[in-house]
Amino acid sequence: MISAGVIREDILRMIHSAGSGHPGGSLSLVEILIHLYWKEMRIDPDNPRMINRDRLVLSKGHGAPALYSVLARRGFFPVEQLRSLREFGSGLQGHPHMQSLPGLDCSTGSLGHGLGIAAGMALGLSMRNNPGRVFCILGDGELQEGSVWESAMSVPALKQTNLTVVVDRNHVQLDDAVDRVMPVEPLAEKWKAFGWEVAVCNGHDPVDLARAFSTKTGKPLAIIAETVKGKGVSFMENSALWHGRAPDDTELQKALEELK
């Protein structure tokens, strides 16, 4: 198992080096991705297109730095490549671009697309009796996109149980707190009403995450992972300002000190 601190340090260094990016929503994702890539998903870094692998669709594609760090630390590509985030010619584009980097199962970045794509993938897998499962991570602000609910309605209707949704419930979006921009609650009730089994957990607690993922159900599972935007760096936590801003040299040093 990798330590969350290593991933968080990667994220901060990458975004600092790139001069732009989304630290808040990357830092909130860390433990969710660690759970998926070290405990949950059947994957083979030496064979990233393995036919019966589990797939991930990071619908909140702006969390790319967290995913890139996890993929590199898991062995899909050299860790040194992380420094090239957002550079011209790099496979680490600002938002995930699957043709450019091994380990990506889908290009994402436009909010509201990922769940439907994940559902289509899951449907394709079950049509071929492929045991691969699909995991889709949504942001909480993203739930304001109507297309998410078109997809949320269709997955239980098609009895797709090989798909799991994780909502990174970090409570903050670009402009402000989610509840102040456009409230999305009651979240658990909404997903239940659409026909999903819901598990709520602490998205930074590996044990609680494992419990949520192991929920037994005959329905598609939606995990609402309560997280903290900017988790691990005091001045970034719960701050809309750090949704899409790169730390300068001083801020990076301060943040890295806190992570130690």
Partner: protein, 309 residues
Amino acid sequence: MKPTRQGYVEGLLEAGETDERVVVVDGDVSRSTGTIAFKEKFPDRFFNLGIAEQNMAEYSAGLALEGFIPFYSTYAVFAAGRAWEQIRTSICNMGLNVRIGGAHGGTSVGPDGATHQALEDIAIMRVLPGMTVLVPADSNQTRQAVLASLNIDGPVYIRYGRNPVAEIYHREDTVVPGRGRVLRQGKHASVMAVGTMVSAALQAAEILSGEGIEVSVADMVSVKPLDVQLIKYLQDISGIIVTAEDHQIAGGLFGAVSEYTSENRPCRVIPVGVADSFGCSGTPEEVMAYCGLTSDRIVEKVKRALEEG
């Protein structure tokens, strides 16, 4: 007379027979577009996702990622318009093998009125990187467009109509992406048309011929990639081109031909199409007349161009 949608369904059934990867994603219009026939024949490969075009486009992307060839099928105005950004950012950006069947294209939906008449779909599909755009003229050609799409790498938009149209093609006349077809040759001007306007162009050529004016008629079924060799060939015969399409003048076939000629071989290109307006209710013939989509309008444009020189 046969509706182009019939050719779409015939093509789908054949494609489904020959290629197990073919699936249909429909949005509650299967009785109207006829894809219900695919459902009856291949119930495990037909998915009605309800009235939710964005989700349909996304499911199609996901199915294509898993190696299927989904035909995402609904009315053109919604297929292309409602889910445009899903098509752009998910389907085209990943270069996925999704086929978009835009039914009821143009003014052919007649009585349904402006909301349901897709007059901008060719333009908004044509600008998307990697998208092939096919606009067949009759039922046989629509069937062939569906079959041709199976061999195209990347996304394809097939735009077809609703109502019976005159049969122009034989069943075996193939559609080749990047290739148009000269249906008639004449030295005074060239009419380049797509969809239902191919038939109007042939009628116009007949009328003009009666007055001693001979025009070529080319079916530009492949709006993208455009058959530039055919354009060059016809330009060598006459320097006057009239385009005809059941679509806005801006951005469709007129746009495509003008872009090519203005950069490479400047000449007069004169549009027959909808002039920055919406349609209305009426029979397809009434609406087409109201929008200026007639053989008479083509005749008039050719004559005026010849007078102006």
